[in-house]
Structure formats: structure tokens, C-alpha cells
Symmetry: C2
Subunit: 608 residues, 2 copies
């Protein structure tokens, strides 16, 4: 029943050979991998304005040069990441680039911060999308956390069903969002150019003097604006998901995404500036612009609706990237092996489920409020940005291919800018991002400890053909018996078929019982040695364990292997289990963990 | 750590031979087994007065003849139970007497209602005791349920430590209570006889006409008064706990208990009548009598304190009786076998713990309020009373020993009276006791189903020496292998030492991998057959299971036994477990439950 429910949720299993079919073309890849970056448009401008609004509305004109700065940074990132895509066609992004060029620890720092970042992507995007929905339908506001959790579960299931299916579902809303925002910008710019703008809007001219403005504040505004760049790295991590030629397709997608993001971000920022929009607690900047442009008609709701949907779907970027990165880390033995296993529908199910669970925890912990998660989210992105750019510099310097100086310069510019942004973050928003300083070293330490364990296991398991294991000379089988029954008969028969060194062991609680049993046994199985053990404290395990130690010691001297044969009742109905002492399970677990004996379980299937 | 905590709580294990030392002398037995019956004095009179108070204070004089009736019933019960003790010196009480003389179902009805009754004993007594404490210290009132649960846990631990130790602790308070109530009665009677009674008290003379009194109401009052008789049967169930000569000591204890109970109940009822005490919601009748006799001085608190303590300790009667009855039922295969096992301190730990847990559930469900539990409790007692008396009648009639007619008459009187009380209960309090009518048949049905299962298992396990099992001709060992490692080497070596029919099975996910592995294997273990299975859906279990079926089918035709050898990593630290696929556990569980193969586990102890 459970299994047919699973089938209903995620579909029938797919053959491994179906893997090729799941690869992405540019159209679908852009939808899947860009929704995070593009959806940043919904809050990027707003983050800048929120900081500037602490001075005065006149300061809002600074949003234009700050946005220009963010766009410049975007361009630098796109150029750098394009180089990374061609240099690392098998994907892995910041983690692999940093590891190969800067060493293990840098790679793990990048990997760790990206992993956390993907979880934040899901939590932040879903929370923001939910907020957009609940703003539109205020009666839902009290159920924010529940709605967000349901959305996470929904996206998790879509991803467990498999990549292509989700892509088909997700492609349309993303493109609808792009169309919607272009429509908004187009109509807005048309209205402005024809002088059709409502007379209530005001804006200070660019360059107007602003009282109390400081460099610190401007940097802070710039850093906030950089939240519009989260998600840019997703494509470089997911190259193996592309159709062949994967690197070329990925690079094209990256350029497309960068251009779209630049246009949308620039347009929204310009309209916000021209309309003189001030950020509000109750309504988003995009909503205010749309209301100004269209009024509260169906076009307004189209903008709001597609914005909400793309925010929710942005979470999907995390679902594309997290399982792949976890796979890379697991393949390199820094994360548990289970993250390398493909599920029924060929996705890395363990990564998908872990991501969903972690995001739900974050959403519940933050009560669906994004304010405090966004800075953490942005800083988590800029750490791997910086590390991968630096890694590329080292790579160019080492390999010096044709035209390496130009390539190095591109990455150098990228590295310097992202490092600067990172520093700005730490200087201007330390109170919100200090957590990273504690958490990252801890996760790197965990990665290293996991790695150490796997290496140690590998070493212990390695075969040295020149030192083959000593062959086993013979076998001793110990059969604990509780009476004279069919089960014991089966056990003894089995033991007899394997060896003639058999000990039937009977644990008795008093002398009389012991004598009686010995007599019965002598009649029934005269050719099988019976050992009776006295238990003064009514424990079967203690005397049995002592006896096994003795036999094991003797056996190992002669290269004999000891096997303990334990019968287990398999009841017809599960409630019958309570009617049988589960001592066989206890004894088995104890022996497996404490002794060097092999424990064989003889199942006895009860017919009634 | 857990085990040393257990040691601290319940003490070191005792040898089985220490069992004799734990037996009870009369002094201790009276304390342990009578606290339930004696503590009924604390509420018996009150129950009568509550019913009479629905008419008028003049009706209170009826409490005297009603109490006389209850005392007559008590005498009849003591005489009957004395005969039962001598006829059934091995104990078991109502369950055994009913089963032997009236048949299986009557026995199970008696046993089932007694089991439930013991749980009610604990819940009611502890709740009443807690109420006495919280009346004395009103600030504790809000924690009633918590206090009651802590008391149950405390008594459970005492009982897990062992019978004698609890007896020593419990003997003094019981005797203190007896002394306290005698003191109260003595001083009260002295004051009355010397005319020193406060002039405010009034009582109607016995025989005064009462308006509106009905037979139904008087019967109801009588039935309520019978709650003072709960616990009388405890001694006859616990004869094996007595020092030799057990039946004689038990009979003596029974007479002592009956006399004490009669004196205390008569005294309290007389004082309540003479003082003209009306039951109150805020104060118990005993408390009102004590206040009237002593005023609120230290003697009053002595009475209240000992009453509270004996009520709490009355629960202990349940702890003496429940595990023994559960043992009898389990020995007869009507309850799970685990109730027959003695724990570290020689008590039947499973019974003790089950009783504690069930009582805590009842206390939580009833929120520590006893009003609705008491009628259920009383009716649960009178069902086995009636059944055991009836059983004795049948026994005397069948066996006809010397003087059987007198003995039969005694039990006949007992049976008629208890049946009458039972009928009165069902007629006058059906709204509170209907639950019994539904629950008892269900529990009897459960007993019968458990019995059926054990009988079926016994039949399946029986050995018929004339039909010995067919010996096993040879062995096939299947070794699932995941690579070429030390673990696989150990497994193959072990298999080789047992048989030459070995299949190493490798499940591969693609052709290339399969070919590569086959070549490596050929070089490494040329003399061991390797079977490679293709898994299109990345499941190891499915192809393996199919292969095992094929081998098993072939093997069973030739009387060969199939063994599947599964390696299992035993990690040094428990968190390491998450780093290894637990597929070996899954495969083992699946094979044990679904197949007729023996599953041998080869533990591989990781050193790091």
C-alpha cells in the first residue's frame, strides 16, 4: 500500500538507460536553472531602496548608479563563469574549481557554503512567494508557514518525479514572468516617454545633493542590491544536465540568463526611480510599480501572479543544484555515500529529500519571514563566487594556455569585485552574517572527518594479493536450544550438513531441569554433543556469551571459524510477535556487535 | 550507563536460589495484602452516606443497618475464601477456582475482570491518596495528576526491587493507620459514653420514619457500601508468596484482616451516625469525624496523614496480585509468555511494569478523579467473587468430602449474596458499569485467540520420532558481492570452508561495469563461480531475490539447503553508521521474512 502510494506520487521507476532522455535543452535549462536568478528581480531593487530610505526620499536617485554597479558586477560574473564552464565541462562549479586549484579546504568551504545556500534558496524563495500570495489574499496570512511547507513538499515531489517532467511544468511560468515584467517595463517606459505618468509621482534628479549620506550607507545599499545576483552560479554547477554539446549549451544559457536579468533589473530600478517609489512594509516595490503603471486591473494581477509563481519556482534551482553538489561531495567521500544513489526516477532522491526537509525546518524556524535569511543567503553565495574566481586565476597562471593573460584578467576582476562585496557584507552587516563564521568551519570539519573515516575503511578493505587471508581449516557450529522441537531438529540437521563439530547449548535455571533435559537429549540426539549451562541470574545471554568466548578462543588457535545458529520464528500475523520472546533478536545483535562469530539465522515460518 | 542507572533504581540482580528468602510471614503479609481492603474504610462509609444524603439527613440512620449488612457479607466472604485457600493451596484465586470447576470461559471472565480490577485498584487508590494529600496542602491541587503519576512510578520501582523490601517499607504505615483509626474510634466512643460530645451534633434515632425512602435507594446505598469490601480476595490469590505452611498462614492472615476491617468499618460508621455527619464535597467523612473528635490538632493530622499513606499503599495490593495472576494466565497460554519471566530481583517485572503503565494511563484519562472509577472497580470485584463461590459449590458437589454439605452451604450463601450484590449494581448503577458488559467479552476473546496461537505453534513444533525430518544432502551458499575487498575475501573463504557449491553474485547497473568486474573476478577467484545480474532499475534486492528463488527451487529438489551470506560492517562509532548503506540489514530482513533460506551474517569489525 505504501509502495503504491509512492508510485502515485512519483511515478513508476525508470530504467537506468532512460537517463539520456532526461537531459535539458537550452529552452528548458533556462527555465529550470534561471528562475532563482531572475526571481531576484522581485526583491533586488527593493533591498537597495530599503537601505536608502533610512536617509530620505531624495537619496533614492542613488539607486540608479548602485544598480549600474550591480550590473557591472553581473557582467564580470557572467564572463568569469563562462570561462569556468568551458574549463570544467563536467560541472561541479565553485566546489570543483576551488578544490582543484586552491586545495581541499578551500573546496570544502565553497562546497559547504553552497550546500547551505541552496537550502536558503529554497527557504527564502518559498517564503517570499508565500508572502506574495498572502499579500494578494490576506485571509491566508495566518497560514503562512503551513502554505510554505506545502509548497516545499509539492516541489520536492515534482523533483522526485524527475527533471524533465518538472522542467516542462516549470518552463511556462518562468517565461510568463519574463513576458510580464517586459510588458510592465515597456508600458512604463512608453507612458513616461509620452508624458502619460500620473502627476502624483515625484523623483529627485540624478546628482541631487543628499544630506547625511555616507560611504558606509552606500556600500550597504550596494551589498543589499547584490542579492539580485544570487543564483547566477547555478548553471556552471549543472553542466552534466545539458544536452550535448553540454558546455556550449550551458554557456549560451548563461549569456541568455545574464542578459535577461540585466534588462529586467535595470528596467525595474529605472521605473522605481522615475515613479519615486518608496519601499513599504505592506506592499512590494514591484507591486507598487505595477499599480502605478496599470492600476489594479487584470494586468496588475498578472504581474503579481507570475511574480509569486516564479518566486516559488526559484526554489527549484536549489533542487537542481543541491543533489548534484551533494553527489560530487559524496563521490569525493566528504558526504555519506547515500547521496550518490539515483532513485526510481533517476534523480538523486536522498539529496532532494534532505533539501526539502532542511528547508522546511528553516521555514518553520524563521516562521516564514525572509528578512533575516536574505543577508545570510547573499554572503553564502559570495564566498564560493570569490573562491572559484581565485581558483581560476591560479589555474590560468599554472597552465598558461593561449591568451591566458586576458582570461586571467577577467577572473581577476571578478575575484576582486566579489571579494570586495564579501568584505562589504562583513563590514556593513556583520550582525546578520556572523553565523557563517562559526558554521562554515564546523561543516568543513565534518566533511574532513567523514573523509577520514571512508579512507580508513578503504584501507582496511584493500586486498593485497601477495598476502591472501589464511584459509579456514574447519567449522564449529553452536546451536542454542530451548527445548526439543521441530525448530531445534531443523537447526541440528542444518548444522550436521555443514560440519561434525556441533555444540548444542542449553541454558537451564535449575539443576533438576538440567538433568531432565540431558536425559531427553541423550535419547533424541545421541550423536550431538549437548552442553548445559547454569544461569543463576535467569539470563540466557551471559552464560552463552561466556561459552562462545571459550569456543572461539580454542577455534581461532586452529584456524577454525565459529558460527552460531539462531532460529527465529516468523509469525503469520504481526501481532503474534508480542507472544514470542524476541530473545533471538537480542542474542543476534549482541553477538554480531561483540564477537567475531558468524551468526546464521534459521527462519521458522509459522503456518498459523 | 543505562544499565548502571537500572542498578541504582532496582538494585543488583538476585540469584534464583534467593527466591525462598523473599517469602512473607503473617505480619508482613497482612501489611502487603490488606492495605487495599483496610483502606476501603476511608471511603466505604462515605459512599453509603452520599446515597442516603439524596433523601434527607434523617435517612442517615439507615447507614447502621446497611453497614451491618455489609459486615454480614464480609463474614460470608471470609468463610468462603478460607475454604478456597485450603482447597487451592497453590493460589490463583477466582481465576483458578472458576476455571477448574466452571470451565475455561468462566475462568477467563474471572481472570479478565480481576486483571482490570487490579489496574483500577492502583488508579483509584493512588488518586484517592493524592486527593487526601492535596486537600491537606491545597497549593498542590493543580499538580494532582503529576503527583499521582510520580507515586505510581515510585511504587512500581519499589516492587521491581522485590517483594520483601517493599514489605518492610510498607508494613509500618499500614499498622500506623490501624492504630490511628482505633485511637479515633476509642476516643470517640469514650467521649460519647462520658457524654463529652459537642452539643452541635445531631442524629435521628434508629428506626425514625423517613419520607421518600425506597428499596431501590437502600439497595443502591448497600451496593455503594460494598466498595468497602474490595481487596478481600487478594490473600487467596497470593498463597505461594507465604512462608510455609502457606495455606495455614494465609488463612490466619485472612481472618486477621477480616476482623480488623469489620472493627474499623463498624467504628467509623457508628461515629459518623452518632455525630450526624453529612458527606461534603470538600472534606472526607473520616476527616470530619477526626475534626469532631480531636479538633484540628496534631492527632487530626496524624489520622489524615496515615489515611493518605495507606490509600497510596493500597495500590501495592495490585502490585502483589496482578503479576501473579498474569503469570497464571500466561502459564496457561492465555497471555504473552513474557509475563512468566522473573526479573533481576525475582519479581515478575513485565507484569509490574505493565500494571504501572496501565494505571498511569487510567489516572491521566480520568484526570485523577475517582468518582467514576469506583463503581466500575466494585463491580469488577464482585464478578470473580460470584464465579469463585459458584465454582466451590460445584467442587463440593462433585467431590463430596467429609462434611461437604456444611462447606457447600457456606459457599452457597456466599454465592447468593455476591450474585445479589452484583445484580443490585447492574440494576442501580448501570449507567456507570455498562462498560464491563462490552469490555469483558472482548478481553476473553483476546485470551482465547492468544491461546489458539500458542496451541497452533506447539502443534507445529512437536517432534514425531517416527517421522524424523529428511536430512540435508548438501549446501549451496550464495554470497552477494559488491566489489573486491577484504570483506568479500573473508566471505568467500568462509563459504569455501563449508561447501563447494558457491555462487558469488554481483549486481551491476551497466554492461561495461559488468564486464570489467567479471574480468577482475576471473583473475582473483578463478575457482568461484561468479553470477552477474543486470539491474535496470538500480535495485539490488529485486534481481537478487529472483536469483535466490531459482537456486532455492533447484536446491530443494535435491534436498540441498540454501544459505545467503551477508557481510555487515560494524562501525567503531555509532555515527559512522550513516556513512554506510544499510542495505545488508534490508536484504537480511527481506530474505528472512520472505524466503526459506538461512541468512548468515558475517560481521566485519572496522578498526577505525
Amino acid at each position: 500500500m505504501l509502495s503504491s502510494f509512492k508510485r502515485l506520487l512519483i511515478g513508476r521507476p525508470l530504467k537506468s538507460t532512460a537517463l539520456g532522455e532526461q537531459k535539458l535543452n537550452i529552452f528548458k535549462a533556462l527555465a529550470i536553472l534561471s528562475s532563482d536568478a531572475l526571481s531576484s528581480v522581485a526583491y533586488g531593487t527593493e533591498q537597495i531602496l530599503i537601505v536608502l530610505s533610512t536617509i530620505s526620499v531624495i537619496a533614492f536617485w542613488y539607486s540608479v548608479p548602485i544598480a549600474a554597479g550591480v550590473l557591472f558586477l553581473l557582467a564580470a560574473l557572467i564572463v568569469s563563469y563562462r570561462q569556468i564552464i568551458y574549463s570544467y565541462p563536467h560541472g561541479g562549479g565553485a566546489y570543483i574549481v576551488s578544490k582543484e586549484n586552491l586545495g581541499e579546504k578551500a573546496g570544502l568551504i565553497a562546497g559547504g557554503s553552497l550546500l547551505v545556500d541552496y537550502i536558503l534558496t529554497v527557504a527564502v524563495s518559498i517564503s517570499a512567494g508565500t508572502a506574495a500570495i498572502t499579500s494578494a489574499i490576506p485571509t491566508l496570512h495566518q497560514h503562512t508557514v503551513l502554505i510554505a511547507c506545502i509548497l516545499v513538499v509539492f516541489i520536492t515531489i515534482l523533483n522526485l518525479r524527475g527533471l524533465t517532467e518538472s522542467a516542462t511544468i516549470l518552463a511556462y511560468p518562468v517565461y510568463l514572468f519574463v513576458v510580464a515584467i517586459f510588458l510592465l517595463i515597456g508600458v512604463g517606459v512608453y507612458k513616461i516617454s509620452t508624458g502619460n505618468v500620473s502627476p502624483t509621482v515625484h523623483h529627485a534628479p540624478i546628482g541631487a545633493p543628499v544630506q547625511g549620506i555616507t560611504l558606509f550607507l552606500l556600500l550597504r545599499a550596494f551589498a543589499s542590491g547584490c542579492s539580485a545576483l544570487t543564483g547566477v552560479e547555478a548553471i556552471s554547477n549543472a553542466i552534466p544536465n545539458f544536452k550535448d554539446p553540454a558546455p556550449k549549451n550551458a554557456a549560451k544559457t548563461l549569456i541568455l540568463m545574464g542578459s535577461l536579468l540585466a534588462l529586467l533589473f535595470a528596467g525595474i530600478t529605472f521605473l522605481a526611480y522615475y515613479y519615486g517609489i518608496a519601499p513599504s512594509r505592506d506592499e512590494t516595490v514591484v507591486s507598487l510599480i505595477a499599480k502605478e503603471t496599470f492600476g489594479r486591473n487584470y494586468l496588475y494581477f498578472f504581474i503579481q501572479g507570475t511574480t509569486a509563481v516564479i518566486l516559488v519556482l526559484a526554489a527549484n534551482t536549489g533542487y537542481s543544484a543541491f543533489p548534484l553538489l551533494a553527489f560530487s561531495l559524496a563521490k569525493d567521500k566528504y558526504m555519506p555515500r547515500m547521496f550518490t544513489i539515483r532513485g526510481d526516477r533517476l534523480g538523486y532522491s536522498n539529496g532532494i529529500v534532505s533539501l526539502g526537509a532542511a528547508s522546511i525546518l528553516l521555514i518553520i524556524a524563521s516562521q516564514g519571514k525572509t528578512e533575516h535569511l536574505i543577508p545570510l543567503y547573499a554572503v553564502g553565495v559570495f564566498i564560493p563566487f570569490t573562491l572559484s574566481q581565485t581558483g581560476m586565476i591560479v589555474k590560468w597562471f599554472r597552465e598558461r594556455p593561449a591568451g591566458w593573460l586576458a582570461k586571467l584578467s577577467a577572473n581577476l576582476v571578478g575575484a576582486l569585485i566579489t571579494l570586495t562585496v564579501l568584505l562589504i557584507f562583513f563590514i556593513t552587516k556583520f550582525g546578520q552574517v556572523w553565523f557563517v563564521v562559526i558554521f562554515l568551519p564546523l561543516i568543513v570539519l565534518l566533511f574532513l572527518r567523514i573523509n577520514k573515516h571512508y579512507e580508513a575503511v578503504g584501507e582496511q578493505l584493500r586486498i593485497y594479493p601477495e598476502h591472501p587471508a589464511i584459509p579456514i581449516e574447519g567449522n564449529v557450529i553452536i546451536v542454542p536450544v530451548a527445548g526439543i522441537t521441530k525448530v531445534v531438529e531443523n537447526s541440528i540437521n542444518y548444522a550436521k550438513s555443514l560440519t561434525d563439530q556441533i555444540f548444542a547449548v542449553y541454558v537451564s535455571f535449575d539443576r533438576e531441569d538440567e538433568k531432565r533435559f540431558e536425559e531427553k537429549w541423550e535419547k533424541w540426539q545421541p550423536d550431538v554433543r549437548l552442553v548445559t549451562l547454569q544461569s543463576h541470574y535467569r539470563s540466557v545471554l551471559q552464560p552463552l556469551s561466556k561459552f562462545i568466548d571459550t569456543v572461539e578462543h580454542k577455534a581461532s588457535e586452529n584456524n577454525y571459524q565459529v558460527t552460531v545458529l539462531i532460529p527465529q520464528f516468523i509469525t503469520k500475523k504481526s501481532w503474534h510477535n508480542i507472544l514470542h520472546n524476541q530473545s533471538s533478536l537480542l542474542i543476534r545483535a549482541y553477538l554480531i556487535f561483540k564477537k567475531k562469530v558468524i551468526v546464521a539465522t534459521l527462519p521458522y515460518h509459522l503456518k498459523k
